[in-house]
């Protein structure tokens, strides 16, 4: 089995990247191949990278409260590029009620701020391995 391949990015204008970088480093230490695209990435850029990298999972982090519209853009882009089977995970300041709605819309997992590191990494790796297998 090849190592899980994970594309991480910050969509929108939010610059809080402490969490996503920590997650990236922890995933790498756990044996995953991580492609971190950095800040202010558009939905098109993120999905394009997932296609090019043959990603097993896409993870994005949003702490500005703009997760609603940004997730809609990502879901639409994922659909139009024909990779709706690649799980999309959202991290950040996501209220409970929004997390429920996002899951209904097709988000594989929501990892809100305060999630212990090992738990967050476990969620991402399980999803990625499930697809890489």
């Amino acid at each position: 089995m090849r190592p899980p391949r994970i594309v991480l990015a910050k969509p929108g204008l939010d610059g809080h990247d402490r969490g996503i970088k920590v997650i990236a480093m922890a995933l790498r230490d756990a044996g995953a191949e991580v492609v971190y695209l950095g800040l202010r990435r558009t939905a098109a850029e993120i999905v394009q990278a997932a296609v090019e990298e043959d990603a097993d999972i896409i993870g994005v982090s949003i702490l500005s409260g703009a997760h609603g519209p940004l997730v809609m853009q990502l879901l639409a882009e994922r659909e139009s590029r024909g990779i709706s089977d690649v799980p999309l995970v959202i991290g950040g300041t996501i209220p409970d009620e929004d997390a429920t709605r996002l899951r209904e819309l097709g988000i594989a997992a929501v990892v809100p701020v305060g999630t212990p590191l090992d738990e967050a990494v476990g969620v991402l790796l399980d999803l990625a391995r499930g697809r890489a297998a």
């Binding site: 204008l13 939010d14 300041t93 409970d96």
Partner: protein
């Protein structure tokens, strides 16, 4: 699980080993040398504080960072805070304003009014301060890449109120280096960004005598994950970089240095934080006099704003954050802060509620008025431990500074992503220590709720109509402005931008003519290009 004392409990937050007890023998030159290294409050090297009377003369400024939605909503929050006894204002801008996009820009729309107030034109700034006297109230602006544009909007709003420039007081954050380092709302490449920051400082030093045109900030690097020692070293490296740039423009150091202000985090390791802030004052005095040859004693007198740390707060058991914030505020006061922001206990979730922000302000007021800690300046001075730790922080920060100098200074190091890497690695180390419970976090990895669940309330609801109303209002204002004077002012701005002259007068003229934040930023984008940060690995 027992609370225990592991190895990390015997080191400070930044990893400095702490002995069971301290005596005069721990001080570098015993108690005799102490007097020279401390001085008196208000006297060089200012270790004990920038003013002789400290809080007996005047309490610190209580300044809660606020702003969301439209200018009217932010104005209502400002009035609420002032009614609750806040003594100055601190404006949070939304991300489109911070990154120079009008609210109507497609990239901007999802973010309008979310993390701060939306400002498109000077009219928005007028609405933001409606009924608040800018000649009397000190205002802090957390704005960086678009700082010159926001300063222009502020002075135009003041003009419309009839407030003279010389009465305007407050602080413009205007520290673009820490945006590259940690906060990440940069737009242009570092060199051009430093030039704009310098234009602001030069203009303010000449025309706004009571205004601090920069707040050199270690806070965000700390929040992004670095430790207290790195925070101190990086802040000093940035202050040196700005000063070098201004001196290179031909400004005398004593002409701008007295208006430089600083911004540090105050986190939970109480004694280390106090030691860090005392060391910061002594270190800056030494840099100002030895490196820049300051003659005006005010040039080496470091004044700072303390922001409590949001990253120390937890989503789990959020009321615990009240206690954390209290300790952090106390630390800032014991260290002699000039102004303080206390985090809302609900900030791990969203913009603080009115209840939370009132409690933050009450925390400051209780410490100020009930605890008695304000009665004497620098109350921890002379403690063997605190003096030893102050020396330790200073000497370790000097090592960080020397490392940055070896890399060619703050700008060169940041361009190559070196301190950014330190910050990310330190953040990862802290998370690993928390995961392994080496680092205790009450309610998270010890004394946690048995089922491990935390509900995340939604204390802040953005009125979604704000976005459409803001866009419509800006459209109306664009339609109503005089196209000829707007065109002429924009042409002039383009010329001075490319020519290298100070952009402030042209920005003020364009702002008066109704130019938008997005239009003016586009002139800079066109001339300077946009920066993309180096990959972290």
């Amino acid at each position: 699980m027992s609370a225990g004392t592991g190895e990390t409990d015997r080191r400070t937050d930044s990893g400095i080993p702490v002995s069971p007890v301290y005596t005069p023998a721990d001080l570098v030159d015993g108690t005799e040398g102490l007097e020279a290294r401390l001085g008196m409050p208000g006297e060089p090297p200012f270790t004990r504080g920038p003013y002789a009377s400290m809080y007996r003369g005047r309490l610190w400024t209580m300044r809660q960072f606020a702003g969301f939605g439209s200018p009217e909503e932010a104005n209502a929050r400002f009035r609420f805070l002032l009614e609750q006894g806040q003594t100055a204002l601190s404006v949070a801008f939304d991300l489109p304003t911070q990154l120079g996009y009008d609210s109507s820009h497609p990239i901007a729309r999802p973010e309008v009014g979310r993390v701060g107030v939306a400002i498109d034109t000077a009219d928005d700034m007028v609405d933001l301060f409606r009924g608040l006297e800018l000649s009397e109230i000190s205002v802090n602006f957390t704005i960086n890449a678009t700082a010159p544009i926001i300063l222009a909007a502020y002075v135009v709003a003041a003009e419309r109120q009839g407030a003279p420039y010389e009465d305007l007081s407050g602080t413009l954050q205007n520290d673009i280096l820490k945006e590259f380092l940690a906060r990440k709302t940069f737009i242009f490449p570092p060199g051009h960004s430093i030039r704009l920051a310098g234009d602001v400082i030069e203009f303010s030093s000449r025309h706004l005598p009571r205004f601090n045109p920069i707040s050199v900030t270690g806070y965000h690097a700390r929040e992004a994950g670095c430790d207290a020692v790195q925070e101190l070293g990086l802040t000093m490296a940035s202050a040196i970089a700005y000063s070098d740039a201004l001196v290179a423009r031909g400004l005398p150091f004593d002409g701008f240095a007295p208006r430089l202000s600083f911004h540090f985090a105050t986190t939970l390791d109480l004694f280390e934080e106090v030691a860090k802030l005392r060391a910061a004052r002594r270190l800056w005095y030494s840099i100002a006099t030895e490196r820049f040859g300051a003659r005006d004693p005010r040039s080496g007198r470091l004044r700072f704003f303390s922001g409590n740390s949001g990253t120390t707060l937890t989503a789990q058991q959020p009321l615990n954050n009240v206690i954390r914030s209290t300790l952090q505020c106390l630390g800032a006061v014991l260290a002699g802060a000039q102004s303080i922001h206390v985090m809302g206990y609900d900030e791990p979730f969203e913009i603080p509620s009115e209840e939370a922000v009132t409690l933050s302000l009450r925390t400051q007021q209780i410490i100020a008025l009930e605890s008695g800690v304000t009665r004497t300046a620098d109350p921890l001075a002379g403690s063997f431990f605190v003096e030893w730790l102050t020396d330790e922080l200073e000497s370790r920060a000097r090592t960080v500074l020397a490392t940055i100098e070896e890399e060619g200074g703050a700008i060169a190091a940041i361009e190559r992503g070196i301190p950014q890497r330190w910050i990310a690695e330190s953040a990862y180390r802290i998370e690993r220590e928390t995961a392994s419970r080496e680092r205790k976090k009450v309610g998270v990895n010890i004394y946690a709720e048995p089922d491990g669940t935390t509900s995340r309330p939604r204390p802040f609801e953005l009125d979604e109509g704000v976005i459409e109303r803001q866009i419509a209002r800006t459209e109306d204002r664009i339609a109503a402005r005089d196209a000829t004077s707007h065109g002429r002012a924009m042409g002039a701005l383009e010329r001075v931008t490319r020519h290298g002259d100070n952009v402030m007068p042209a920005l003020i003229e364009a702002t008066r003519a109704g130019a938008t934040v997005g239009e003016m930023t586009d002139v800079f984008r066109e001339a300077f290009g946009e920066f993309r940060e180096p990959a972290p690995w």
